[in-house]
C-alpha cells in the first residue's frame, strides 16, 4: 500500500514523462498485489495483463511517438500548482471525512447480499448467467474502440510502405 501511494506521489512530482510512466507501472503492480490480498485473483491478473501489458505499452509508444526525436529526456513541467493543490486537497478532505464518518456495517445492502466463496469457477458462472448482457456489450464496445482507434491513427492508404 505504501508502495502504491509512494509511486503515485512520484508521478505527481517528476518532470520526466518516461519516469512517470514507469512509476505508473509500479502503481499498477502494487495495486494488483493489493487485489490479491483482498481475494480477487482473477481481477489482479486481468489488471496486470490489460494495464501493464497493454495500456502501459501504448503509453510508452505514445511518448516515443509524440516527442521530437533526439533528446532522451521528455520533460513536462507542472503548472498552476497552487490551484491544483487546492482543488485536490479540498476533494481529499471531503472524501476523508466521508470515509471516516461512514458506518459501513449498518448499510442495508450489506446484509442482503449472498455471500459466495470467491472462486474462479463461480466467477465464470456468474459472469455468464447474471451479467451476460453487460459482457456482450463490453465485447461490442471493445470492437468499436478497436475499429475507431485503427481508423483514427492509421495513415492514408496511399502511404502504405512505412517501415515500423
Amino acid at each position: 500500500m505504501v508502495l502504491a501511494a509512494g509511486s503515485a506521489v512520484f508521478i505527481m512530482f517528476t518532470k520526466n514523462i518516461l519516469y512517470a510512466a514507469l512509476a505508473l507501472m509500479v502503481t499498477f503492480l502494487s495495486l494488483a498485489v493489493i487485489f490479491i490480498f483482498l481475494g480477487a485473483e482473477f481481477v489482479a491478473i486481468t489488471q496486470i495483463l490489460v494495464y501493464v501489458g497493454g495500456i502501459l505499452i501504448l503509453l510508452v509508444f505514445g511518448i516515443m511517438l509524440t516527442n521530437k526525436t533526439g533528446s532522451t529526456q521528455v520533460l513536462s513541467l507542472t503548472y498552476n500548482k497552487v490551484l491544483g493543490f487546492l482543488a485536490s486537497g479540498a476533494l481529499f478532505i471531503i472524501l476523508f471525512k466521508g470515509i471516516t464518518l461512514a458506518n459501513f456495517a449498518a448499510l442495508d445492502w450489506n446484509k442482503e447480499s449472498e455471500s459466495l466463496e470467491p472462486s474462479i469457477a463461480k466467477f465464470g458462472q456468474i459472469l455468464m448467467t447474471d451479467y451476460v448482457i453487460a459482457f456482450e456489450i463490453i465485447g461490442l464496445l471493445l470492437l468499436l474502440a478497436l475499429i475507431g482507434a485503427v481508423r483514427i491513427a492509421g495513415k492514408a492508404r496511399k502511404e502504405a510502405d512505412h517501415g515500423t
Partner: protein, 365 residues
C-alpha cells in the same frame, strides 16, 4: 521456497547446457565440429565463457539514462523467472498452487515486454530503440494466437490450474476426481474408455485431435515470443547493426541472454503441460503389459516424483532441441511478413480453433 531454489538452480544449469547444446547442434547442422578445445569435446567451454562474462568491465554509456538502463535486464529476468512458479514438475512439486495458473503466465509474458522496452530506451541509441520497438510489436502480436490456443485447452479441461490439466492427461486422474473418465479422442459416444489405458492416448493431442493444429500454432507463437529465428528481427540486427541489447556488455548482457533461454524453457514447459501430457508417461497400458504403471510411480511416492520429473524434463528438452534445430534451419522472416503471419493467418486460425474446441467439448459431455 524449495521450489524457488530448485528452479533457480535448475534454470542456471539448464542455461549452461542449452548454450553448449546450441553451439554443438548448430555446428553439426553446419557440418563442422563446434567448440572442441576447452575440456574433452568442448564441455568446459561454457565454464570458460561464464568466467569471461563475470569479470568483464561493466560499461554504461555516458549518455544512457542510468535509472532505466540499470534495472532493465533485472526486470526482464525477474518477469520470466516468475513464470516458473506455476509449472508442475511432478504431481506434488509446484511453486504455488494458484487457481488461475495459465492466466498468470500470460500476464507474466506481457510484463516481459515492458522490460524489453526499457532495455531499448535506456540505451539512448536509435538502433536499440528500433530493435526494441520491433520486438515489442512482435511479442504483442503473437500473444494473441498464443492466448487463444491456451483458451482452447482450457475449454476442454475446464480448469485454469496447470496441475489439474496434467492430471487429466494420464492414468492418475482418478486420484483427484473419482468419477472422471477419459475417452478415446474424447468422444463419449465411442465408448472406448482410456483412463485405465493412459499413455500417449490420453495426452491432449489425442484427446482432441484438433489440438495437433493448436499445438503447431502454439509452438510458432512461442518461437516468436522468445525472439528466436525465424522471428528474430529484434536480435538479428546484431548481425546487421545492433539489436536492442547493443549497449549492454558483461554481466548485464548475460542476464538478457539468460532470459532468452529462460523463456524458451518456459514455453517448452507450457507446451508440454498443455498438449503433451505434462509429467505423464507416453507408454500406454495395453492389456496386461502395463507399461504406463511401470514407467510412472504413484503420485506422492518418491519414485513417482522421479518418474514425473524425468518425463517432464525430457519432453521439455526435446522441445528446446526442436527450437534450436529450427533456428539453424530456417531463414529469418522480414518484419512485414512476420506481422502478416500473425494477423492474417495465425489469429483467424486460432479463432476458428476456439470455436471448434467448444463444439468438441459438447461432444465430450
Amino acid at each position: 521456497m524449495i521450489a524457488f531454489l530448485f528452479f533457480l538452480v535448475f534454470f542456471l544449469v539448464y542455461a549452461l547446457i542449452a548454450v553448449y547444446g546450441e553451439r554443438k547442434i548448430s555446428a553439426f547442422i553446419q557440418d563442422r565440429y563446434g567448440p572442441m578445445e576447452v575440456g574433452y569435446y568442448g564441455i568446459l567451454q561454457m565454464i570458460a565463457d561464464l568466467l569471461k562474462i563475470i569479470q568483464k568491465e561493466d560499461i554504461i554509456p555516458f549518455a544512457a539514462d542510468k535509472r532505466i538502463f540499470k534495472p532493465a535486464p533485472i526486470i526482464v529476468f525477474t518477469a520470466i523467472f516468475a513464470g516458473f512458479a506455476i509449472i508442475p514438475l511432478t504431481s506434488d512439486f509446484m511453486g504455488s498452487e494458484v487457481e488461475a495458473g495459465i492466466f498468470y503466465l500470460l500476464a507474466i509474458v506481457s510484463l516481459d515486454v515492458l522490460g524489453i522496452l526499457m532495455v531499448g530506451w535506456g540505451s539512448n541509441n536509435k538502433y536499440a530503440l528500433f530493435g526494441a520497438m520491433r520486438a515489442v510489436a512482435q511479442i504483442v502480436s503473437y500473444e494473441i494466437p498464443l492466448g487463444l490456443t491456451v483458451v482452447c485447452v482450457v475449454m476442454i479441461s475446464q480448469t485454469l490450474s496447470l496441475q489439474e490439466i496434467t492430471y487429466q492427461q494420464g492414468i492418475w486422474w482418478n486420484t483427484i476426481d473419482p468419477d472422471a473418465q477419459n475417452y478415446l479422442f474424447g468422444i463419449k459416444a465411442l465408448g472406448i474408455e482410456t483412463t485405465a489405458i493412459g499413455g500417449i492416448l490420453t495426452w491432449n493431442i489425442f484427446r482432441v485431435p484438433l489440438f495437433l493444429l493448436a499445438f503447431v500454432i502454439f509452438f510458432i507463437a512461442s518461437l516468436a515470443e522468445s525472439n528466436r529465428t525465424p522471428f528474430d528481427i529484434p536480435i538479428a540486427e546484431s548481425e546487421l547493426v545492433g539489436g536492442f541489447h547493443t549497449e549492454y556488455s558483461g554481466f548485464r548482457w548475460s542476464l538478457i541472454m539468460l532470459s532468452e533461454y529462460g523463456i524458451m524453457l518456459l514455453v517448452s514447459f507450457l507446451a508440454v503441460v498443455l498438449f503433451l501430457g505434462g509429467w505423464n508417461t507416453p507408454f500406454p497400458n495395453i492389456g496386461s503389459v502395463e507399461l504406463a504403471t511401470w514407467t510412472s510411480g504413484t503420485p506422492g511416492t518418491f519414485t513417482g516424483h522421479l518418474w514425473g520429473a524425468f518425463w517432464m524434463i525430457s519432453k521439455a528438452f526435446t522441445l528446446v532441441f526442436i527450437q534450436i534445430w529450427i533456428r539453424w534451419t530456417f531463414p529469418r522472416l522480414r518484419l512485414d511478413q512476420l506481422m502478416n503471419l500473425s494477423w492474417k493467418y495465425l489469429t483467424p486460425a486460432a479463432i476458428i480453433l476456439v470455436l471448434l474446441s467448444a463444439l468438441w467439448r459438447m461432444l465430450m459431455i
